[in-house]
Each structure stands twice: as C-alpha cells, then as structure tokens.
Subunit: 422 residues, 2 copies
C-alpha cells in the first residue's frame, strides 16, 4: 500500500454458520470497497481465526462485484468457519504474537470477527493483546448466531431466518398431520436446534393463529422435562383436537439437568452427540400412548435454508457488516454493533454498539415471561418479540429450479512468514 493511511482489513467467520452470515460478509466487503481511500483489500481468514494463525488469507479483491453481491443471498460461510476457542494471552502468548506478525506482514489495521459469544471473546482478546503489544489494530466483533443467545443486542443475525424456517415448517407439517390423523399418524415431532436456549423452538409458536393450531406443545431447554406431564399433555391434545404437533429443542433437559438426547443416544448407540430428542419422544409416545408418530430432525437444513430466509434478518445481517466498517473507520474498537429495537409494532430498529467485554461469553435464555405458565407454549409478549424478526421474504435467484449461490475463487495471498504450529 503506497498511502500509509490505507490499510487492509481482516474478516473471518466463526462458529456454526447461518443462512445470512455471508450477507454480513457482503456488507463488510461492499463498504470496504466504497472507501478505497482508507481500506486496501479485505483479507478473509480461511476457516476463521485459523486462517490468520496459518497465514491462509483469501484476497477478496479477486472476486467480482457480482460475486460479492451474490454473497448476500448465499448460505453457509463462503470463506470457511471454525470451531476454535483462542486461549487467553496469559495461557498462550505465542498465539497472539503470531496473529500480530501476520497482521503486520499483510498491513492489516482492521479486524472484523463474525460469530457468537465465543467469537466475541476472541475479538475482545485480540483487541486487548494488540493494545498490549502496541500494535495499531481496531477490533470489531459482528454478531451472528442462530441461537439468538447474545447479550446486549435485541436479536442476532441468523436467528430470524431459522425462526422463519421453523415457523413455516411447523405450519406446513401441521397441515399434513391434520390430514392423516384419522387413520394414520396422530403425532408429529419436529426437533430443532438450541442447546441451552429455546429461542428456535419458541419461534415455532408463530405458526399458531388460532388456539387449536400447531404447535400444540413446545419443549424448551429452559423448562425441566417431566415425562408423565408431557405424555398427559399429548394425550389431552389428541383427545381434544385429534392430532398433536410437538416442537422440541435438542437441548431439552431432565429435572436433573441431564440432556434427554444424551441419555437416549447413550442407550441406543453409545454416543452422546445431540440430535436424538425426537426419536426418543416418539418411542415414549408410541409405547405408552399407542399412537402413530412421525418425527423430523431438521439439523443443518434449518440454518442453511436461505431460500426461505427472513427479509428482516438479511437486511440486518448486511447492515451490521456495513456499519462495522463505519465504526472502524471512525476509529472505534473493542465493540460489537448491536440491533436496538425502537418499536415492535410497527417494527423499527436501529444500530447501536456494545463493548465486547459485555458480550463475550454471556448467554441470553428465553425469559420465563415468554413461556406460558404450563411451560408448553409461548406468551403474547414472546410473539410480539419474535414476529418482526421473520417478516419479509428475500428469495434468492433460481435457475433450472434451484437457487443459484455464489461460488467464490477464494485465492489466497502469498505467504510471507514461516509456517506456524499450534
């Protein structure tokens, strides 16, 4: 870079990806391209912070404007993500020295890290370390998580689209079960993500317009599971309306705090990986109530379903990317842009900021007031909170019946440093 004022930006994606994390990437890269007086190129970490440690940096300037635009409607993480928690500076200063060497070698003055609570922690640690080492780096975290569990921000980009997918799927599958209930399937269980928080499960409640509509029972990680009560509720629902649609969070726990799925998977397979609540509940309902059950586990489908993304979510994910660049150019650091809700109806939002230290490693669960007294559905205030987040459709372009998603070249810059082991 000839002009000393011009510096490159580092951007990386971290943790579980979403339908809209690339919309944030699009916002950052487009904003950076609009300020060539300040920002050279955006170097994207290949597989998150690991790309920085290994000096695997993707030079986004090789990508056409059209390709970057296409990121706005492409699910997954276009540069690769990682599940990697950076040790603290005290525990492993080598990591931080390496990162700063890489940033220095590639003239990086801006650090953008796009992820959940752990990732905000990473952004915070790197900001702190660069201060300590006297390296001029502005560190901005950008929220992303389908779990909607980040503190300070009203909601998290990525969540609205999962919420919409789950609400739409609940409504659609509900019509299917209702049709079949007379002579065949009477119970349908949809297992959704959410290890510690029930935001995703809660969003299924948006499918309910009338009291008899699905979902009839929602299982939250926040509400201890009681098998007899649950089975009684299922039986009552069948008695009353002839069928029962259940949406269960993968993180549902026994009163002991143990995961239902952990115990089930141990029984059946000797593993403890999550993702087996639905078959377990199905087994109990079949054996104890003698009802025909169908179950679905949507797993990655729910968080990659860009074809049914929330327009609001896409807009916010993109806007947070753009504003992160504005913040950095204004000299701000160690913060995360957040969504502030100005009003729910009509929905109005603005962007604020929060110190990374207040966001890192804090988890926001579903408040008890958002869950009905019996623990099996959402309250009107929860609905008021959730509803704006799924508004609007933002269909990707289709060709030959399928959505056309971005294919980047992902060319890496030449390495300037020796390899690094970690």
């Amino acid at each position: 870079m000839k002009n000393k004022k011009i510096q490159n930006a580092f951007y990386a994606q971290s943790g579980g990806v979403t339908a809209v994390i690339n919309a944030t990437a699009c916002g950052i890269i487009e904003a950076a391209r609009s300020r060539p007086d300040k920002i050279g190129t955006v170097l994207a970490g290949k597989n998150g912070i690991i790309g920085a440690l290994q000096e695997e940096l993707i030079d986004t300037h090789f990508e056409s404007n059209a390709s970057i635009q296409a990121l706005r409607y492409t699910p997954g993480g276009a540069f690769g993500s990682c599940r990697y928690k950076l040790k603290s500076l005290e525990k492993d200063p080598r990591l931080y020295k390496r990162l700063i060497e890489v940033f220095k070698a590639h003239e990086i003055g801006y650090f953008f890290y796009n992820g959940g609570g752990d990732s905000q922690d990473t952004a915070h640690k790197i900001g702190e370390a660069s201060k300590k080492f006297g390296f001029p780096l502005l560190s901005i975290g950008i929220p992303k998580t389908i779990d909607n569990d980040l503190a300070m921000t009203d909601n998290c980009p990525g969540f609205g689209s999962v919420a919409k997918y789950v609400a739409v799927s609940t409504r659609e599958a509900g019509l299917d079960v209702l049709s079949m209930a007379e002579t065949s399937t009477k119970v349908f269980i949809l297992e959704v993500m959410g290890r510690n928080t029930g935001w995703i499960a809660a969003s299924s409640g948006l499918a309910k317009d009338k009291p008899e509509d699905p979902p009839h029972l929602i299982l939250f990680p926040e509400i201890p599971f009681q098998r007899p009560l649950f089975l009684k509720k299922v039986a009552e629902t069948i008695q009353r309306i002839g069928y029962c649609v259940i949406v269960a969070s993968e993180g549902v726990k026994h009163e002991s705090g143990n995961l239902l799925s952990a115990s089930s998977e141990k029984d059946a397979f000797g593993h403890t990986q999550l993702g087996g609540v639905a078959p377990l509940l199905s087994q109990w309902i079949q054996s104890e109530l003698n009802l025909k059950v169908h179950w679905a586990v949507s797993d990655y489908l729910q968080r990659s379903a860009r074809h049914i993304a929330s327009g609001t979510d896409v807009e916010q994910a993109y806007a947070l990317g753009r504003v992160a660049v504005d913040f950095a150019l204004a000299g701000k650091s160690d913060i995360m842009p957040i969504i502030r809700r100005e009003s729910s109806s009509p929905y109005r939002w603005s962007i604020g900021e929060a110190p990374l230290s207040c966001v890192a490693n804090v988890e926001k669960t579903v408040p008890r007031t958002y869950i009905t007294l019996d623990g099996f559905n959402i309250t009107p205030s929860c609905r008021e909170y959730l509803s704006p987040l799924i508004q609007g459709e933002d269909f990707p372009p289709f060709q030959n019946g399928l959505p056309v998603y971005a294919r980047l070249q992902n060319k890496e810059v030449s390495k300037k440093l020796p390899p690094f082991e970690f």
Copy 2:
C-alpha cells in the same frame, strides 16, 4: 337436483398427502363449477373413502371461489386423507353396496379418487362394482404420490415438489458442511422418504453442478447396501474433497432384503417404523471412521413444503384435476389421466389416459440405467428425466412472514342413511 342430467361429484384424497394434492382438488372443483349444466356440487369425502362409507360428505359449495383458489397453494389434504385399502367385492360386498347407497342418496354420478397405487385400485374396484350393480357411476382415478412410483404416467403430481425440496436442501446444507469441515462436522446425512423406490433420493443429485458438489453419495432402495463399500466411499470422499454429503432413502436395504432402519430401530427401541437410517449410518461413520457427523430426517417437512413447491408440479396437479372432470363429462370411466412427456429439453408435456387396471398396484422403481455403475449417484439420463420436474417456483402468498394457507369450512351435508359399521 331438478334437472335429471345434473349429478353431483364425489372427490376424495387418499394415502400420504403432498404439497400439491389440494391443487388437484382446486382443479376439480373449479372445473365442476364451470359446468353447472352438468355437475351439481362436489361432495368431498371426509378422510378419503371412509367419508363415503360413513356418509361424511363435505359440501364444497359452501366454500368461496377465493377459498377454492387458495387450495392451489395449500399443502396437506384439505378434506382429510386415509390409509385404508378397500377389500375386494368378493371378500366384502357389503362395502360396495353401502357406497352405492350413499352415492344414490346424494345423487352422485361422478367418482374422483386422488391417490397412489392403492387408491387407483380402490377407484378401479368401485368402477367395477357399480357396473355390476347397474349403478351409473363414472369412476376416475387421479394420480398423486411423492414416491413417483405409479405406472403408465411419466411422473406423479407431488413428486416434483419433494424433488425440488430435497435438491434445494442438499445444495444448502452442503454449503453449510463445507464451511464447517475444517474443524468440525465432516459428514452430513439427509434421510429422505421412499420405502421401495429411490426417486426422491435420486432427486438430490440435481443439486450437483460440478463433480465435487454434493451429494457425494446417494443410497437407493434399489441398490443393496454394503457396509464396507459404503464406509470406503465415505473415507475416499473425505480424503479427496474434505467433506461428504450423503442422501439416504429411508428404504435402503441390506443384501438380505431387510431394511437398514428396521434393524436399527429394533435394536434401539423395539419398533420397526421407518425413519432411522440416518442415525444408524451416522453411528457407523463415527465409530469406524472417527468423523464428526450431523444428520437430518426431513420426514413430513419434505412433502408438505409448499413454500418451495415446483411450479411444474403445481401446474400438472391442477391440470390433472381439471382434465379428470373433462374425462368424466365425456362419459369416460375406469381411467386415470396421465402425464405424457413430449420432450425433455425443452420440456413439453401433455395429458393422456390409462386404464385403472394397468395402474393399480404396480410399482415403478428407478431404472438401473438412472444410477451410476458404482451405485452411488445418478446418471445424465436420470438428470435429464428429473430436471424438468423441479422447474419453476410457485411461492404462496405470505402475511406476517408466513405463508397464508386455505382454511375451509368443511360443512358436511345432512345424513340421509342409517350409520354403517365396518
């Protein structure tokens, strides 16, 4: 009915419902409404043929034109479906006598039955019985099945939309896994429907534009499953491109002919219901290859996902409903309208007819030439066959972020006969 020439029509939905079976209902009712000189009202069987046996007949004339129009984009079976196979006339003549009594009491001269192979058998038996008893009834079967396994017709309404859902989901989830593969999930398994035929699993192959694209392995019921070969293929794929997306039909069988899922579910839960191939494969891959696996079972979501229905499928489902009425008014009986493919590229189709006796109880599997030699993917000829069926989008209207689906009144006509036990 004052004019003797005017008779009512009976219409019912049978078997597993689809995203577009109501589009056929819409076609039938709209066509019937356009011929008030010939057809009085369409009486819909509540829960399929059971509605006729129990004299539970929904009078569709109470539904507004707007509601009937909305059926075109509403998933599930608006009048209820059933899983009920009618015994033969020889075995239980009482059933047929009852049906004819009901038809006579409600001045029904047209019988439209909308379903798969079993349902075409029902339509055939009822047509035969009415001839035998000298009751003037024109019986028309209308194809519907997500399994695409009906004989005589090029494809079945309901299938194209599942195919599109599965292809879109495979593409989207594939991008997710690709992002995560470096440090986390390397294998993703999507389990889809298809007990005896692999048409649905095959359709995932449409997501593949380049050789390295997902799906990397498709498991068909038509190809005997060999565990060592399968695991070798997974390992090779990981070695070559770093991740592996597998689409498995629920009906995958061992060389012995036993279902994989049957054995797994018996081990774990003591049941034999289908829907457990994905967790079983996941267990094997984790324990033998030591790779992190995620799996999804889309179950009812795949066949109710009207939001991502195929435009071609909707158009064909609707057209077959309309033409069924034309056939009946032309005095035809004991036939099923079929889709004839005139050309694949550009796709051109027309409607023909087939005798019900040639359709009933015949099952069309995926030809061996549609499956690659190694048994794990689809050939170009399969792609040429499948591709037109997922073309076009036909999004339902959305309100508050959710699709708005028809809510019928479903008012039943007064009963004229004594109750019937069966």
